[in-house]
Protein backbone atom coordinates (compact mmCIF):
# COMPACT_ATOMS: atom_id res chain seq x y z
CA UNK A 1 0.00 0.00 0.00
CA UNK A 2 1.37 3.35 -1.01
CA UNK A 3 1.91 5.73 1.84
CA UNK A 4 1.57 9.46 1.52
CA UNK A 5 5.38 9.67 1.39
CA UNK A 6 5.49 7.41 -1.65
CA UNK A 7 2.87 9.50 -3.42
CA UNK A 8 4.76 12.67 -2.56
CA UNK A 9 8.01 11.19 -3.85
CA UNK A 10 6.35 10.09 -7.08
CA UNK A 11 4.79 13.53 -7.61
CA UNK A 12 8.11 15.16 -6.88
CA UNK A 13 9.72 13.29 -9.78
CA UNK A 14 6.80 13.31 -12.21
CA UNK A 15 6.63 16.18 -14.68
CA UNK A 16 4.25 18.82 -13.36
CA UNK A 17 3.92 16.94 -10.10
CA UNK A 18 5.71 19.65 -8.16
CA UNK A 19 2.94 22.11 -8.97
CA UNK A 20 0.32 19.69 -7.71
CA UNK A 21 2.39 19.01 -4.60
CA UNK A 22 2.74 22.70 -3.88
CA UNK A 23 -1.01 23.14 -4.14
CA UNK A 24 -1.68 20.19 -1.85
CA UNK A 25 0.84 21.55 0.61
CA UNK A 26 -0.76 24.97 0.55
CA UNK A 27 -4.24 23.58 1.20
CA UNK A 28 -3.05 21.24 3.93
CA UNK A 29 -0.95 23.83 5.71
CA UNK A 30 -3.72 26.43 5.44
CA UNK A 31 -6.26 24.08 6.98
CA UNK A 32 -3.87 22.77 9.63
CA UNK A 33 -2.72 26.22 10.65
CA UNK A 34 -6.23 27.61 11.00
CA UNK A 35 -7.72 24.89 13.14
CA UNK A 36 -5.11 24.36 15.82
CA UNK A 37 -6.99 22.63 18.59
CA UNK A 38 -5.00 22.89 21.78
CA UNK A 39 -4.57 20.52 24.65
CA UNK A 40 -4.45 22.67 27.80
CA UNK A 41 -1.63 21.02 29.73
CA UNK A 42 -2.07 23.58 32.48
CA UNK A 43 -0.33 22.74 35.74
CA UNK A 44 0.21 26.14 37.34
CA UNK A 45 -0.63 29.83 37.13
CA UNK A 46 0.10 30.09 33.38
CA UNK A 47 -3.05 28.04 32.91
CA UNK A 48 -5.05 31.02 34.19
CA UNK A 49 -3.72 33.17 31.36
CA UNK A 50 -4.42 30.34 28.96
CA UNK A 51 -8.02 30.16 30.20
CA UNK A 52 -8.31 33.93 29.90
CA UNK A 53 -7.09 33.71 26.32
CA UNK A 54 -9.83 31.21 25.52
CA UNK A 55 -12.68 33.47 26.63
CA UNK A 56 -14.33 36.34 24.92
CA UNK A 57 -11.94 39.18 25.71
CA UNK A 58 -9.10 37.61 23.74
CA UNK A 59 -11.24 35.12 21.88
CA UNK A 60 -9.00 32.40 20.53
CA UNK A 61 -11.88 30.92 18.59
CA UNK A 62 -11.32 33.46 15.85
CA UNK A 63 -7.93 31.80 15.21
CA UNK A 64 -9.62 28.41 15.14
CA UNK A 65 -7.74 27.65 18.33
CA UNK A 66 -10.08 25.77 20.61
CA UNK A 67 -9.01 24.06 23.82
CA UNK A 68 -10.08 20.43 23.96
CA UNK A 69 -9.78 18.25 27.04
CA UNK A 70 -9.02 15.12 25.03
CA UNK A 71 -5.51 14.62 23.62
CA UNK A 72 -6.91 12.53 20.75
CA UNK A 73 -8.68 15.61 19.37
CA UNK A 74 -5.74 17.96 19.62
CA UNK A 75 -3.00 19.30 17.37
CA UNK A 76 -1.08 21.50 19.79
CA UNK A 77 -0.09 20.81 23.36
CA UNK A 78 0.27 24.04 25.29
CA UNK A 79 2.39 23.22 28.31
CA UNK A 80 1.35 26.02 30.65
CA UNK A 81 3.00 25.63 34.00
CA UNK A 82 5.65 23.97 36.08
CA UNK A 83 6.34 20.35 35.23
CA UNK A 84 7.76 18.27 38.04
CA UNK A 85 9.71 15.06 37.66
CA UNK A 86 6.64 13.22 38.91
CA UNK A 87 4.37 14.92 36.35
CA UNK A 88 6.72 14.53 33.37
CA UNK A 89 5.80 10.89 32.52
CA UNK A 90 2.12 11.84 32.48
CA UNK A 91 2.78 14.80 30.17
CA UNK A 92 4.82 12.63 27.84
CA UNK A 93 2.12 9.99 27.80
CA UNK A 94 -0.56 12.56 26.93
CA UNK A 95 1.70 13.89 24.19
CA UNK A 96 2.05 10.40 22.78
CA UNK A 97 -1.73 10.03 22.68
CA UNK A 98 -2.09 13.03 20.37
CA UNK A 99 -2.36 12.14 16.69
CA UNK A 100 0.22 13.35 14.18
CA UNK A 101 0.84 16.02 13.08
CA UNK A 102 1.31 17.61 16.48
CA UNK A 103 3.12 20.57 17.91
CA UNK A 104 4.14 21.76 21.36
CA UNK A 105 4.08 25.29 22.74
CA UNK A 106 6.05 25.86 25.94
CA UNK A 107 4.17 28.65 27.67
CA UNK A 108 5.88 30.58 30.45
CA UNK A 109 9.28 30.49 32.06
CA UNK A 110 8.66 27.27 33.96
CA UNK A 111 7.88 25.32 30.81
CA UNK A 112 10.73 27.00 28.91
CA UNK A 113 13.53 26.50 31.41
CA UNK A 114 12.19 25.78 34.86
CA UNK A 115 11.90 29.52 35.51
CA UNK A 116 12.22 30.51 39.14
CA UNK A 117 12.58 26.83 39.99
CA UNK A 118 15.78 26.43 37.98
CA UNK A 119 18.16 26.62 40.92
CA UNK A 120 18.19 24.64 44.16
CA UNK A 121 15.15 22.57 43.34
CA UNK A 122 14.97 18.82 43.51
CA UNK A 123 11.58 18.33 41.89
CA UNK A 124 11.17 20.54 38.80
CA UNK A 125 12.07 19.62 35.22
CA UNK A 126 14.25 22.39 33.77
CA UNK A 127 12.28 23.06 30.66
CA UNK A 128 9.71 20.85 29.02
CA UNK A 129 12.09 20.43 26.05
CA UNK A 130 14.01 17.94 28.17
CA UNK A 131 11.48 15.35 27.04
CA UNK A 132 9.19 16.98 24.42
CA UNK A 133 10.01 18.53 21.02
CA UNK A 134 8.98 22.12 21.63
CA UNK A 135 8.08 24.24 18.59
CA UNK A 136 7.40 27.65 20.08
CA UNK A 137 8.66 29.07 23.37
CA UNK A 138 6.85 31.93 25.12
CA UNK A 139 8.73 33.77 27.83
CA UNK A 140 6.91 35.43 30.69
CA UNK A 141 5.84 34.70 34.23
CA UNK A 142 3.07 34.31 33.24
CA UNK A 143 2.88 35.50 29.62
CA UNK A 144 0.00 37.70 28.59
CA UNK A 145 -2.70 36.18 26.37
CA UNK A 146 -1.36 38.38 23.58
CA UNK A 147 1.93 36.49 23.82
CA UNK A 148 0.06 33.23 23.44
CA UNK A 149 -1.72 34.63 20.40
CA UNK A 150 1.65 35.58 18.96
CA UNK A 151 2.84 32.04 19.59
CA UNK A 152 -0.10 30.67 17.62
CA UNK A 153 0.72 33.01 14.73
CA UNK A 154 4.39 31.99 14.83
CA UNK A 155 3.38 28.35 14.92
CA UNK A 156 1.18 28.98 11.88
CA UNK A 157 4.22 30.32 10.03
CA UNK A 158 6.11 27.21 11.00
CA UNK A 159 3.29 25.00 9.75
CA UNK A 160 3.17 26.97 6.50
CA UNK A 161 6.75 25.91 5.76
CA UNK A 162 5.96 22.21 5.96
CA UNK A 163 5.42 19.84 3.07
CA UNK A 164 4.17 16.30 2.73
CA UNK A 165 7.38 15.68 0.79
CA UNK A 166 10.40 15.59 3.08
CA UNK A 167 12.56 17.10 0.35
CA UNK A 168 10.47 20.21 -0.02
CA UNK A 169 10.61 21.56 3.50
CA UNK A 170 11.85 25.08 3.92
CA UNK A 171 13.57 26.63 6.91
CA UNK A 172 11.17 28.54 9.13
CA UNK A 173 11.11 32.29 8.79
CA UNK A 174 10.25 33.19 12.36
CA UNK A 175 11.15 36.20 14.42
CA UNK A 176 11.29 34.03 17.51
CA UNK A 177 14.85 33.12 18.49
CA UNK A 178 15.57 29.41 18.56
CA UNK A 179 16.94 28.65 22.00
CA UNK A 180 20.03 26.57 22.18
CA UNK A 181 21.16 24.85 25.33
CA UNK A 182 24.45 22.95 25.21
CA UNK A 183 23.36 20.76 28.12
CA UNK A 184 20.57 19.19 26.14
CA UNK A 185 22.68 17.84 23.32
CA UNK A 186 21.51 16.97 19.84
CA UNK A 187 17.76 16.72 19.60
CA UNK A 188 18.03 14.48 16.55
CA UNK A 189 19.28 11.62 18.67
CA UNK A 190 16.16 11.45 20.80
CA UNK A 191 13.45 9.25 19.29
CA UNK A 192 10.60 11.62 20.15
CA UNK A 193 12.25 14.85 19.13
CA UNK A 194 12.10 16.40 15.68
CA UNK A 195 14.54 18.80 14.16
CA UNK A 196 13.72 22.29 15.32
CA UNK A 197 14.60 23.85 11.98
CA UNK A 198 12.27 21.74 9.87
CA UNK A 199 9.37 21.06 12.27
CA UNK A 200 8.24 17.66 11.18
CA UNK A 201 5.13 16.58 9.40
CA UNK A 202 3.39 13.22 9.60
CA UNK A 203 6.37 11.26 8.30
CA UNK A 204 9.01 12.21 10.85
Amino acid sequence: MATIEDIAEFLDKAPGGGILLTTVDAVMNWSRGKSLWTFPMGTACCAMEFIAASFSRFDFDRHGTIPRPDPRHCDVMVVAGTITHKMAPAVKRIYEQMPEPKWVVAMGNCAVSGGIFYYDTYSVVRGVDEFLPVDVYIAGCPPRPEALQDAILQLRKKIASESISPRRRRPVASELPQPSDPRKGDLEEQPLARSKATAGGPDV
Binding site: H85, K86, Y118, Y119, D120, T121, Y122, S123, R126
Partner: protein, 153 residues
Protein backbone atom coordinates in the same frame (compact mmCIF):
# COMPACT_ATOMS: atom_id res chain seq x y z
CA UNK B 1 -9.11 33.01 75.10
CA UNK B 2 -6.42 35.57 75.66
CA UNK B 3 -2.83 34.49 75.45
CA UNK B 4 -2.11 35.13 79.15
CA UNK B 5 -5.02 32.93 80.13
CA UNK B 6 -3.73 30.22 77.85
CA UNK B 7 -0.29 30.54 79.44
CA UNK B 8 -1.80 30.15 82.90
CA UNK B 9 -3.75 27.08 81.95
CA UNK B 10 -0.77 25.42 80.31
CA UNK B 11 1.46 26.32 83.27
CA UNK B 12 -1.09 24.90 85.68
CA UNK B 13 -1.02 21.68 83.70
CA UNK B 14 2.76 21.50 83.31
CA UNK B 15 4.52 23.55 86.01
CA UNK B 16 7.94 22.26 84.96
CA UNK B 17 7.44 23.23 81.33
CA UNK B 18 6.19 26.72 82.10
CA UNK B 19 9.51 28.44 81.20
CA UNK B 20 9.30 26.81 77.79
CA UNK B 21 6.04 28.56 76.97
CA UNK B 22 6.50 31.40 74.51
CA UNK B 23 4.44 33.55 72.18
CA UNK B 24 4.98 33.09 68.47
CA UNK B 25 2.99 34.91 65.81
CA UNK B 26 0.47 35.88 68.49
CA UNK B 27 -0.17 32.28 69.47
CA UNK B 28 1.12 30.23 72.34
CA UNK B 29 4.00 27.88 71.75
CA UNK B 30 5.37 25.21 74.00
CA UNK B 31 8.45 23.10 73.46
CA UNK B 32 8.37 19.75 75.22
CA UNK B 33 10.80 16.85 75.42
CA UNK B 34 10.22 14.28 72.72
CA UNK B 35 9.15 11.53 75.09
CA UNK B 36 6.34 13.76 76.45
CA UNK B 37 5.03 15.08 73.12
CA UNK B 38 2.26 12.53 72.77
CA UNK B 39 0.96 12.91 76.33
CA UNK B 40 1.17 16.69 76.00
CA UNK B 41 -0.82 16.55 72.79
CA UNK B 42 -3.43 14.36 74.46
CA UNK B 43 -3.68 16.77 77.40
CA UNK B 44 -4.01 19.75 75.09
CA UNK B 45 -6.70 17.94 73.16
CA UNK B 46 -8.58 17.37 76.43
CA UNK B 47 -8.15 21.05 77.20
CA UNK B 48 -10.07 21.86 74.03
CA UNK B 49 -7.57 21.93 71.19
CA UNK B 50 -9.55 19.46 69.15
CA UNK B 51 -8.19 20.31 65.71
CA UNK B 52 -4.75 19.45 64.41
CA UNK B 53 -4.16 22.15 61.85
CA UNK B 54 -0.72 21.25 60.64
CA UNK B 55 2.22 18.93 61.16
CA UNK B 56 5.58 19.99 59.87
CA UNK B 57 9.24 19.76 60.71
CA UNK B 58 12.30 21.97 60.62
CA UNK B 59 15.88 20.96 59.98
CA UNK B 60 17.84 22.88 62.62
CA UNK B 61 21.18 21.52 61.46
CA UNK B 62 22.14 19.33 64.40
CA UNK B 63 18.59 18.17 65.10
CA UNK B 64 15.11 18.16 63.68
CA UNK B 65 12.19 19.95 65.23
CA UNK B 66 8.68 18.59 64.84
CA UNK B 67 5.94 21.19 64.96
CA UNK B 68 2.25 20.63 65.56
CA UNK B 69 -0.24 23.45 65.25
CA UNK B 70 -3.30 22.90 67.41
CA UNK B 71 -6.46 24.91 67.05
CA UNK B 72 -9.65 25.27 69.02
CA UNK B 73 -12.86 26.97 68.08
CA UNK B 74 -14.27 26.67 71.60
CA UNK B 75 -11.25 28.32 73.21
CA UNK B 76 -10.76 30.70 70.27
CA UNK B 77 -7.08 29.98 70.45
CA UNK B 78 -4.32 28.23 68.61
CA UNK B 79 -0.95 27.06 69.75
CA UNK B 80 2.20 25.37 68.59
CA UNK B 81 3.53 22.20 70.13
CA UNK B 82 7.17 21.52 69.37
CA UNK B 83 9.73 18.89 70.16
CA UNK B 84 13.35 18.40 69.23
CA UNK B 85 14.06 15.14 67.38
CA UNK B 86 17.59 13.71 67.28
CA UNK B 87 18.98 13.28 63.78
CA UNK B 88 20.58 9.90 64.32
CA UNK B 89 17.30 8.28 65.40
CA UNK B 90 14.40 10.44 64.15
CA UNK B 91 11.43 8.57 65.61
CA UNK B 92 8.34 10.46 66.78
CA UNK B 93 5.15 8.98 68.24
CA UNK B 94 2.32 9.21 65.75
CA UNK B 95 -0.68 11.40 66.53
CA UNK B 96 -3.03 9.34 64.36
CA UNK B 97 -4.75 7.90 67.41
CA UNK B 98 -5.63 11.41 68.66
CA UNK B 99 -6.36 13.15 65.34
CA UNK B 100 -6.98 11.01 62.25
CA UNK B 101 -6.06 14.09 60.20
CA UNK B 102 -2.44 13.52 61.18
CA UNK B 103 -2.11 10.52 58.88
CA UNK B 104 -1.35 12.28 55.57
CA UNK B 105 0.47 15.15 57.27
CA UNK B 106 2.84 12.73 58.95
CA UNK B 107 3.33 10.90 55.68
CA UNK B 108 4.39 14.19 54.12
CA UNK B 109 6.87 14.87 56.93
CA UNK B 110 8.21 11.34 56.52
CA UNK B 111 8.47 11.85 52.77
CA UNK B 112 10.38 15.12 52.88
CA UNK B 113 12.35 14.81 56.16
CA UNK B 114 12.62 11.10 56.78
CA UNK B 115 11.19 11.34 60.28
CA UNK B 116 9.65 8.00 61.24
CA UNK B 117 6.31 8.09 63.04
CA UNK B 118 5.93 5.27 65.52
CA UNK B 119 2.44 3.78 65.40
CA UNK B 120 1.47 5.27 62.04
CA UNK B 121 -0.92 2.91 60.20
CA UNK B 122 0.47 3.42 56.67
CA UNK B 123 3.81 5.18 56.62
CA UNK B 124 4.97 5.57 53.02
CA UNK B 125 5.76 8.40 50.62
CA UNK B 126 2.87 10.67 49.68
CA UNK B 127 4.25 13.41 47.39
CA UNK B 128 7.41 12.10 45.80
CA UNK B 129 7.55 9.07 43.49
CA UNK B 130 7.80 5.79 45.35
CA UNK B 131 11.23 5.00 43.94
CA UNK B 132 12.73 8.29 45.12
CA UNK B 133 15.80 8.00 47.29
CA UNK B 134 16.48 10.44 50.07
CA UNK B 135 14.44 13.09 51.82
CA UNK B 136 14.86 16.38 49.97
CA UNK B 137 14.00 18.93 52.66
CA UNK B 138 16.93 17.79 54.78
CA UNK B 139 19.77 20.27 54.65
CA UNK B 140 22.27 17.58 53.71
CA UNK B 141 20.18 16.24 50.82
CA UNK B 142 22.18 15.88 47.61
CA UNK B 143 20.95 15.09 44.13
CA UNK B 144 22.71 15.04 40.77
CA UNK B 145 19.87 16.98 39.17
CA UNK B 146 20.01 19.96 41.53
CA UNK B 147 21.67 23.01 39.97
CA UNK B 148 23.13 25.14 42.74
CA UNK B 149 22.44 28.83 42.54
CA UNK B 150 25.64 30.77 41.86
CA UNK B 151 26.63 33.59 44.20
CA UNK B 152 26.11 36.38 41.71
CA UNK B 153 22.35 35.86 41.44
Amino acid sequence: MRIEELRERVCAMYPDLCPLFSIEFGDGSIAVPLERVHSAAADLKDMGFDRLGMVTAVDRGDEFEIVYRLQSRDLRAAMFLKAAVPKNDPVVPSMCDLWPAAEWQEREVFDLFGIVFDGHPDLRRILLPEDWSGHPLRKDYADDRIVRRPDYI
